[in-house]
């Protein structure tokens, strides 16, 4: 089972972080895999700019732990705002061979200094993508993180570019599946193509 944790800023990028998980799981589901995508209220996500986690799980077999609402040992980390890494260890608990994908204009080497040595040895690759430059529209969702109504399409903003980048780095799902799952097809395609990868 592959566990994905996406870090995003509260309220401002709440929907985008959720979209990364939803696009990847929908793409994997259409390829015939078993998936879960969920939020957790543990980070108190109603506060603007607080660091929030969104989760997804993708597996070839049936996922049995349906009552654990947190990925304790993730394999893929997404960060939709690079500044989060300066304040918190986003890679906490990662498995050996994990990948880290960050939304920033900087190079992957510049952001590695915010990963402590204990987690750095488990990283397989670090990648950066200028997702905000590709898809600057962000839907600010003041209704909070508890579901509520989400009338806008899934994967309309920078979440689509991030999902494309994660697919390219990890090889988790095919490119065509991601493009089909995201509403903003161009952003997902550019995210897949323009991601800067550094293998460790």
């Amino acid at each position: 089972m592959i566990e994905i944790t996406v870090w995003c800023t509260g309220v401002i990028q709440d929907k985008e972080g959720r979209d990364v998980c939803l696009v990847l799981t929908e793409a994997a589901f259409n390829e015939g895999k078993f998936t879960q995508a969920f939020d957790n209220y543990v980070d108190l996500p109603d506060r603007i700019n607080v660091q929030v986690r969104k989760y997804a799980r993708i597996s070839d077999t049936v996922i049995e732990n349906v009552f654990e609402y947190e990925n304790h040992k993730p394999n893929i980390i997404g960060v939709t705002e690079a500044t989060i890494m300066k304040g918190i260890n986003v890679c906490y608990g990662i498995q050996p061979g994990s990948v880290l994908v960050i939304n920033t204009t900087k190079d992957p080497e510049e952001l590695l200094k915010y990963v402590p040595a204990k987690q750095k040895k488990n990283l397989k690759a670090v990648a950066t993508i200028d997702a905000l430059g590709i898809a600057p529209e962000q839907l600010i969702d003041y209704s909070g993180s508890e579901g509520a109504e989400d009338a806008s399409a899934i994967g309309g903003g920078l979440g689509a570019a991030m999902a494309g980048a994660i697919a390219a780095v990890s090889g988790l799902v095919k490119k065509e599946s991601v493009l089909a799952a995201a509403a903003n097809r161009t952003a997902a395609k550019r995210g897949y193509d323009e991601v800067k990868i550094k293998q460790l």
């Binding site: 800023t9 603007i48 700019n49 607080v50 660091q51 947190e70 304790h72 040992k73 705002e81 690079a82 500044t83 989060i84 300066k86 304040g87 918190i88 260890n89 906490y92 608990g93 920033t104 900087k106 915010y114 402590p116």
Partner: protein, 129 residues
């Protein structure tokens, strides 16, 4: 016409006077609470140009978290970066545009780094190797 109120003058001793904007030095008997630090939320850091500043203290009043401080004996404006969330209200209220917003990643320091997540003991066991 006779007034209903008498005028009183109260002499407040120096040590009992309330400081500007009600900011008092908190005693912190248990030290800093690392779980409560909000410096990591900040995306843009406020940076003040002391030459432009006219010491109107609008930013001190505007800050929702009391992180704008009077330093240097009350002659300068400083920031408590452990708690500043980077909301930008100080920049917004400044009448002389002395406070700039600079991306936090341009600086090396200033943010308290959380090496581990704050978890309850039984959840911490799930994260352990």
């Amino acid at each position: 016409m006779k007034t209903r109120f008498k005028k009183y003058t109260v002499e407040i001793p120096e040590e009992m006077a309330i400081p500007f904007a009600g900011i008092v030095e908190s005693p912190k008997p248990n030290g800093e609470q690392p779980m409560m630090l909000t410096g990591g939320w900040r995306i843009y850091r406020p940076v003040i140009d002391s030459e432009k500043c006219v010491m109107c203290k609008s930013c001190v009043l505007a800050c929702p978290d009391a992180t704008v401080l009077l330093v240097d004996g009350g002659n300068k404006i400083g920031f408590n970066l452990d708690y500043c969330k980077g909301c930008g209200l100080c920049t917004w209220v400044c009448p002389v545009n002395a406070i700039d917003r600079v991306p936090e990643l341009d600086f090396e320091d200033g943010v308290p780094f959380q090496d581990a997540l704050f978890l309850l003991p039984h959840v911490e066991a799930l994260y352990a190797d």
